[in-house]
């Protein structure tokens, strides 16, 4: 029997087509008893490979194809060598060698120094590699003596664990190469091993492999490239074919079996890892946790009542039984450090349900007072490590991660990785490029296909009118879509997970290689959020920009002291005016608050949980509103459900209520009920759901509940479970939401400046934020080279745009300008700040020099000369020559007319993403007036039910899931006076609503709806604004710009 020892999975990133699970499955079907995984310079697929192999009863062999840089021949680039971990020590060495490769070769081009191989060779088996292996390469070049020396060197390093690798892939010059390799092996008495350098499962997968190679090498299908596969022979050979290829050299096959037998079964320890304990821990972790908890409890609650003590003891007992004390201590340690540094933190998710967490300062919500179920967070029945999610301001999160590294050791901390996979947009762009389709056509199509899998493009083209409108009838598009479907879901690259880090007790390199991140902090482990739990303690340190945005108002209002009962803030929320407030600003949220007449924190908390797919799809939102307003009686499916559901009018809106309902109806323990909730969430088939339903009904019947009622309850629970929020989470977010609304209401200039400084965040683009500010009477001051800071600054009634807002300006320059200001003129600026040409152009276009040189076109015309002169002057100064004596005069370009107002605004928008001085729609106003269109301000005095026509910008068009499954389009229509929410039902969306996705400015014809303090438009028709005037065309064009452009054309 033979074994495949050189197999690439999709984790070879654009050089492999199959997931490890599929490889294992196929190997099992072929009857192989063992198989190896050898991806390029990584172990990203290791855990899932081992899990799948163990499940299939196949022996997994972990390895990698390493890029090895020989110092003697650096110009030739790295050679390949196939390394297999025979022991745990070998696996650890492999992790270290791979890590070295990234340290020496760089983030994108790993290259392990060959001279480091020896020190990490223990426990590793080496195969000489493919054609890109050093020995094969030398032989193909006819350099036999050097090939012999190399083989001897490898044997010196690995001893009898070194094998000459033979591959029969039907490539040119292969006969000679194989003959030379065999001769060398026989002469030096080095054993041989057969491999097929597998990159895909079947011959038919060759096009997929080839197109991925084109993406990797940035070549078109018609262009040759040495890395592109010549034929379709690198598939997983069935045993008989494998035998046929090597029947003249059977020892190469039997040696593969021998190698497999040499490898230990468990080179990767997948037992639950030890959790590190902070050095500060006094006594055992359990003792220290109890001490801290009770200390915190006395601070939080003052007097400890029996209820509080019972709850804390209950939680501590479960935490202890699940051996999670150290986990809590690590989180406490980090939160404590954050607070010492003045960094705002906020617990989110189910940890808010934990009273111990509250006492440790992880969350500020009191779960005992709010009656939150601890079992939603953790339970003995679920017996899993809970997730503790903590939010930090974005900028300071990195500071804390660095501190965690220092605290727990650089060798014990890593960032969790994530894999970017092919979805419709990325597949269309990358594969379309390789297949030589026009980039602009593909780009347009990709932009219009939102949230689509790469294998559903053709189907989605039918469903999404904005995409279907594009001409894609050509045959080549069918080929493109077919290729996109082939690569659907395959990983394209490894990147850093947004928030996950891992902390280990033993050195992290015992488990996973590490590679540098783009940011340079916390190297990335090769395991994603699911696999990392086998390595150490995974923690989510999330960044929540709002926590930083609210700090802008710190000088005028202390966030922690904001009162919870401010009537004007509630009035603003219930009148639908909370654009900019955290979690309350989406059209759906604003409409909800108008309907429920929000007047309390409870309404806000409920609303955060209500505007979710679960309650929305279950049709619970309308029921909740009607019951809250007393328009229909509150009913319960069973009397036992009154207690858990009475505070939400008989409607399930929180995950904790699912647990309570299941406990009440089917007499489950809270832990069992939470498991049911999780199982419903993850049920992937009708059959699985049917089983869950059967169990639930049986238990409910045994509890004396009637079958009909039990069925109804289960349906309700099942409809909700997957998409709801934990109440604790809603409370934590609700607190921030209300306080952000308070700041928006009372200190709008400071708060909105904070939002501008933390983009991207929230629902609306910067221009809408600025419009909102302007409509609130705040003066927007433009970017100014002598006045602006890096960030937007604010006073009580004005916001000054900051340099951070300018696209194309480096952070370094943006931060430096203010410290160097004031400047006498642009030359002075160039001499002292040395901007790049594109940066200087961006500043001119953004109007930063208007206060010194109001003629932007003249300045742009001179910018290159000024920049060069400044550079020259610097050089002359270094040479000790008086520079001013040779500088020419200003020139006479002022004779040219400056840009028109529309041009200035358009260009300004392209750099800043906003217009400080006016709204672009105001330029279109004469034209819109000529069509008899109303403004959003006019709608205030028009009675509801009237047919109206309004023109404006389309903001955030989206089609969320609906209960009926139909597609309803929502967007905001914005003009210089404000914005109004627009709804298009499916027929309108299909006939004209799709224009909201492609047209920056539209006219909406529809019915004005007024309810309580809010108003909205129900569209009958969406129309384009005819483009007749050049300045209007310029205005409209600029909104379709998504990328910063070069501005040379402006000259």
């Amino acid at each position: 029997m033979s074994v495949h020892l050189h197999v690439h999975s999709a984790f070879s990133f654009l050089d492999g087509c199959s997931y490890p699970e599929a490889i294992v499955k196929r190997a099992g079907e072929y009857g192989y008893e063992a198989i190896a995984l050898t991806d390029h310079d990584n172990l990203c697929g290791a855990i899932r490979f081992v899990k799948a192999a163990r499940e299939a009863g196949i022996k997994p062999i972990l390895g990698a194809e390493l890029s090895l840089q020989s110092r003697a021949n650096e110009q030739a680039g790295p050679n390949h060598i196939t390394l297999l971990a025979a022991t745990s020590h070998g696996y650890q060495n492999l992790c270290r060698l791979i890590t070295l490769g990234y340290e020496y070769g760089g983030r994108r081009t790993p290259a392990t120094p060959a001279e480091r191989l020896f020190e990490h060779s223990q426990g590793l088996i080496a195969l000489s590699g493919c054609r890109k292996g050093e020995i094969s390469r030398l032989l193909l070049e006819g350099r036999r003596i050097e090939a012999r020396q190399t083989a001897l060197e490898y044997r010196r390093i690995f001893g009898d664990r070194f094998f000459i690798e033979l591959q029969r892939l039907f490539l040119p010059h292969e006969r000679r190469l194989l003959s030379d390799l065999c001769a060398l092996a026989d002469e030096l008495k080095i054993p041989v091993a057969a491999t097929n350098n597998v990159h895909y499962l079947d011959r038919d997968d060759l096009p997929t492999h080839d197109i991925l190679t084109c993406c990797r090498t940035l070549t078109k299908v018609d262009e040759p490239h040495p890395l592109r596969p010549l034929n379709a022979e690198q598939f997983l050979l069935p045993p008989q074919l494998f035998y046929n290829r090597f029947r003249t050299r059977l020892d190469a096959l039997t040696n593969t079996d021998r190698i497999a037998a040499t490898c230990d079964d468990n080179v990767l320890d997948m037992a639950r890892p030890d959790i590190p304990t902070p050095a500060i821990c006094e006594g055992t972790p359990a003792q220290f946790l109890r001490k801290l908890t009770y200390q915190g409890a006395r601070q939080r609650y003052g007097k400890l009542t029996p209820v509080i003590e019972a709850r804390l003891n209950h939680e501590l007992r479960i935490i202890g039984r699940l051996r999670c004390e150290s986990y809590f201590l690590v989180v406490w340690d980090i939160v404590r450090e954050a607070k010492l540094r003045g960094i705002r933190t906020s617990g989110r998710g189910s940890v808010v349900d934990c009273a111990v967490g509250h006492c440790l300062g992880i969350s500020d919500i009191d779960p005992i007072g709010a009656n939150l179920r601890f079992e939603r967070f953790m339970s003995l029945e679920r017996s899993q490590m809970p997730d503790i999610d903590i939010d930090f301001p974005r900028e300071q999160r990195d500071e804390l991660v660095t501190w965690v590294q220092e605290r727990y050791g650089v060798d014990h901390v890593g960032a969790v990785c994530t894999f970017s996979t092919f979805r419709a947009r990325s597949a269309l762009r990358e594969i379309g490029k390789a297949m030589e389709l026009p980039e602009d056509e593909i780009g347009l199509l990709a932009r219009r296909l939102r949230s689509t899998n790469a294998d559903e493009i053709a189907e989605q083209m039918e469903k999404q009118p904005q995409a279907a409108r594009q001409r894609t009838s050509a045959k080549r598009y069918e080929h493109l879509f077919a290729m996109c479907a082939r690569v659907a879901g395959l990983p394209r690259m490894i990147s850093t997970h947004l928030c996950g880090i891992v902390i280990t007790t033993h050195p992290i390199l015992n488990y996973t290689p590490l590679q540098p991140t783009a940011k340079g902090i916390a190297r990335i482990a090769h395991f994603d959020k699911d696999d990392i739990e086998y390595v150490g303690l995974k923690m989510d340190l999330l960044s929540l920009p709002i926590l930083e945005a609210v700090d802008q108002a710190k000088p005028v209002c202390r966030f922690e002291s904001i009162p919870h009962n401010d009537p004007t803030t509630f009035e603003m929320i219930r009148s639908g005016q909370a654009v900019g407030a955290f979690e309350l600003q989406s059209p759906a949220q604003r409409a909800l608050h108008v309907r429920v007449k929000t007047d309390s924190m409870k309404d806000i908390i409920d609303s955060i949980a209500l505007i979710r797919p679960g309650p929305g799809m279950g049709g619970m939102v309308d029921t909740y509103i009607r019951r809250k307003l007393g328009l229909e009686p509150v009913e319960y499916m069973h009397p036992a459900l009154e207690e858990p559901l009475k505070h939400t009018f008989g409607v399930i809106i929180f995950q904790e209520q699912v647990i309570e309902v299941a406990c009440a109806a089917a007499k489950l323990t809270p832990g069992e009920a939470d498991i049911l909730r999780k199982m419903i969430t993850h049920a992937r088939s009708k059959k699985a759901m049917e089983e869950l339903r059967g169990n639930f009904i049986r238990k409910a019947l045994a509890n004396g509940v009637e079958r009909d009622t039990a069925e109804k309850v289960f349906k309700c629970v099942a409809g909700f479970a997957g998409y709801g929020f934990a109440e604790g989470h809603a409370r934590a977010f609700g607190e921030i939401a209300y306080k952000s609304a308070y700041l928006l209401n009372h200190h709008p200039a400071h708060y909105l400046a904070g939002l501008l400084n933390n983009q991207p965040m929230g629902f609306y683009p910067p221009n809408t934020i600025v419009s909102q500010a302007r409509n609130r009477g705040i003066l927007i001051l433009p970017l100014d080279i002598n006045e602006s800071h890096y960030l937007a600054t604010s006073t009580d009634d004005a916001i000054r745009i900051g340099f951070r807002q300018a696209r194309g300006l480096s952070d370094t320059l943006g931060r430096r300008i203010h410290s160097e200001a004031p400047f006498n003129d642009i030359r002075d600026f160039c001499e002292r700040c040395h901007p790049a040409m594109n940066e200087l152009e961006a500043l001119i276009i953004a109007g930063a020099f208007d206060s010194l040189h109001p003629h932007r076109r003249a300045l742009l015309w001179q910018s290159e000369a000024i920049s060069k002169l400044a550079q020259r002057k610097e050089t002359l100064r270094l040479l000790d020559i008086e520079p001013d004596s040779i500088l020419p005069g200003q020139g006479t370009v002022e004779a040219f007319p400056d840009f028109t107002e529309a041009e200035r605004l358009s260009m300004e928008y392209s750099v800043l993403g906003l217009n400080p001085n006016c709204h672009l729609v105001s330029l279109l106003r004469p034209k819109l007036d000529s069509y008899g269109l109303l403004t959003t301000a006019d709608l205030a005095w028009i009675p509801g039910g009237q047919k109206v026509r309004v023109g404006g910008l389309t903001i955030c068009p989206h089609t969320p899931p609906t209960k009926s499954g139909t597609r309803v389009l929502f967007f905001c229509l914005e003009d210089e006076f404000g914005l109004i929410d627009v709804t298009c039902f499916e027929d309108i969306y299909r006939s004209s609503g799709y224009l909201a996705f492609s047209e920056p400015v539209v006219i909406v014809e529809g019915t004005l709806q007024k309810r309580n303090l809010g108003r909205a438009l129900l569209a009958d028709r969406i129309m384009r604004v005819p483009q007749t005037l050049s300045r209007e065309a310029a205005v409209e064009k600029v909104f379709s710009l998504s990328e910063p452009k070069t501005h040379s054309i402006a000259r």
């Binding site: 096009p207 299908v221 034929n231 379709a232 080929h479």
Partner: protein, 107 residues
């Protein structure tokens, strides 16, 4: 190499390698296979996969023979529409699968 690109008849051995072929009414006996490899062809243009043989005939002349297989890439609609492939083959002056082509002769 002088390109010929003509369909020919080839006699093969039990393992499928060429022994003898006919071209322009003459029979050529294969003395030795110099090199042999496989190519996937331009799958994106539906070219068939092929096995390439560089052979030496009894007169010491080198020929390149291609044995053609199926193309590796078809979309679902093309699989259903067999006439499409025939059309493509005729348009691209291709020989169908399972055939031999004399690709070129070394002068």
């Amino acid at each position: 190499m002088r390109y010929v690109l003509q369909k020919i008849d080839v006699h093969t051995s039990a393992n499928g390698t060429p022994c003898e072929f006919m071209w322009r009414g003459h029979s050529y006996s294969v003395q030795r296979i110099i090199e042999r490899w496989k190519e996937s062809g331009c799958w994106w243009d539906r070219e068939p996969e092929r096995e390439v043989y560089r052979v030496l005939d009894s007169a010491g002349k080198t020929f390149e023979l291609h044995c053609l297989y199926e193309t590796l890439f078809t979309t679902n609609s093309e699989k259903e529409d067999n006439s499409m492939r025939l059309l493509l083959d005729s348009q691209l002056n291709r020989t169908g699968p399972g055939h031999w082509v004399l690709y070129g002769v070394e002068d």
